[in-house]
């Protein structure tokens, strides 16, 4: 069932919670969900990266999955979403799936997140190991 080669080449986590990041890294590692992992501690770091690589149009440098937190310092998830929507190139080979992963259960925030085209789903923490696995596998299914 589980293949030895990870289904995903590159995935990306944007989150300021270091403990959470460490745990996700571990899960991805144990379950072999992604070959490489990009980690940004806030929206700005992530946006700077994406802005830079979009000029290079290197397909390999673009993650297939982005897990985005909402509440972060410097630039929060909302701001990132707004700006990311502006810089993201049209769908020519870039197939990125973006999930919001947040601790907020505010229905207003959930509604708002789903109003963004790029947001595939809103996941409320805690997300279990199985759920993470399902997200990564669904990408290749």
């Amino acid at each position: 069932m589980t293949t030895s080669t990870p289904p995903i080449k590159l995935s990306c986590i944007i989150d300021d919670d270091e403990v959470y990041i460490r745990l996700i890294k571990k899960i991805i590692d144990i379950k072999k969900l992604s070959e490489n992992l990009l980690i940004f501690n806030n929206g700005k770091e992530a946006l700077d990266y994406f802005t830079a690589i979009i000029q290079n149009v290197s397909k390999n440098a673009f993650p297939e999955i982005i897990l985005l937190d909402l509440n972060m310092p410097v630039m929060d998830g909302w701001d990132f979403l707004k700006k990311f929507t502006q810089i993201k190139p049209p769908n020519n080979g870039f197939k990125t799936t973006l999930y919001i992963v947040s601790s907020s259960i505010d229905p207003y925030e959930i509604e708002r997140a789903k109003s963004f085209n790029y947001v595939k789903d809103y996941l409320v923490k805690p997300v279990s190991m199985d759920e993470f696995e399902a997200i990564f596998k669904s990408k290749t299914a």
Binding site: D17, E18, V19, Y20, R22, L23, I24, K26, I27, I30, N42, N71, P73, V74, D79, S103, S104, I105, D106, V124, K125, P126, V127, S128, M129
Partner: protein
């Protein structure tokens, strides 16, 4: 009066209704130059027994702010337009009170010769209404802070519990001793953060409960002295300079613990977010403006981009700089303390130049 004498019942009912509702009648005749106040109106306005109402003195029964409006009402009646309004009146001995008043043109043979009407003393009810409105505003603001608080509690506890759950799941999944050790370390982290969160929540709850503490006379100079003492080391190590002038307003009545906390939070914020290229210079002034008391903290720190973060600076757990010790609770607590005692707090800032925080008590 002559009319009512003919029918004693009419007069009886009229008088009882007037008494019961505290409503007085009046009439003026522009042609005959006569004015009339009925007994209840005389009682409400507290006029002396020999007082003769007249057009000349009619406006004396209204405070300055109402005079224009009342003049318009009378002119309206003269042109056939009745009025119905809630306004302030003055008694003969100059006490302000709220009335509900109606007035209509007075006709004689089809032509308007004057105006007549009734006013009802609603001072008690109106004041109650105004005080209710004020309470409502206070409750609304408390309610929104409470809701915000509930979301924060839910959000923060959830992130810890979620990390805890993931760690446990992982502990069950890993095989090596090394990995287990790593995960145990995570448990320590989570436990520490959970403790921090709870102590922040305690701090906020205590803001609310301390709002009922006794207010005392305090001097800003003393408060500043205490705070400087308590963070003396930090001030020396960072080469921070504090310049203060409280001569315009040396002190005030306030909850002592709040004032100390306000000073401590704002001074340590100014030091925490000082500009890397210069030592922190903090100005603290107290002053009076339009009869209101103000306290102002000005620093020369890195400032904050209010166009981007403006609406959020006073929210809980909002951090904008990548400082490691940024917790995002100081300004939230300060705002809560100020608002718990019906004050307001505002911020002005220029990036790389500094920040001014003003508190109106």
């Amino acid at each position: 009066m002559e009319e009512s004498n003919k029918n004693p019942f009419d007069y009886f009912y009229y008088q009882e209704v007037a008494d019961l509702t505290a409503a007085g009648g009046w009439s003026v005749n522009f042609d005959m130059k006569t004015s009339y106040l009925d007994p209840q109106a005389r009682k409400i306005l507290n006029v002396p027994e020999n007082f003769q109402p007249s057009l000349r003195t009619a406006l004396d029964f209204y405070p300055v702010i109402e005079k224009v409006r009342v003049t318009e009402f009378f002119e309206g009646c003269a042109n056939g337009i009745p009025f119905n309004a809630t306004l302030k009146m003055l008694t003969f001995d100059n006490k302000e009170f709220w009335v509900r008043a109606v007035g209509k043109p007075l006709y004689d043979d089809g032509t308007i010769v004057g105006a007549q009407g009734v006013f009802q003393d609603i001072d008690f009810e109106k004041l109650k209404e105004l005080s209710l409105e004020k309470s409502l505003k206070v409750i609304e603001s408390q309610n929104s802070r409470l809701l915000n608080f509930a979301h924060i509690v839910s959000h923060n506890l959830r992130s810890h519990s979620s990390n805890l759950q993931l760690t446990i799941e992982l502990l069950n999944a890993v095989n090596s001793k090394n990995e287990e050790e790593e995960l145990k370390e995570s448990l320590v982290h989570i436990s520490n953060s959970l403790n921090d969160t709870i102590s922040h929540l305690n701090e906020i709850v205590s803001v609310q409960s301390k709002a009922h503490d006794q207010k005392k006379e305090l001097l800003f100079e003393d408060v500043l002295y205490n705070i400087k003492n308590s963070i003396n080391r930090l001030i020396i190590d960072t080469d921070t300079k504090i310049i203060s002038d409280f001569s315009e307003l040396p002190g005030m009545t306030y909850i002592h613990a709040y004032m100390e906390s306000i000073f401590l939070n704002l001074i340590s914020n100014a030091i925490k977010y000082k500009h890397p290229e210069r030592a922190a210079l903090i100005h603290i002034y107290s002053y009076l403006e339009n009869g209101e008391s103000y306290l102002m903290f000005q620093d020369n720190g890195i400032g904050i981009d209010l166009d981007t973060y403006g609406s959020k600076v006073f929210n809980m757990y909002q951090t904008f700089h990548q400082n490691e010790d940024a917790v995002g609770i100081g300004l939230f607590i300060t705002k809560n303390q100020v608002e718990a005692l019906q004050g307001t707090i505002s911020i002005e800032s220029v990036v790389n130049q500094g920040t001014i925080i003003k508190i109106k008590f």
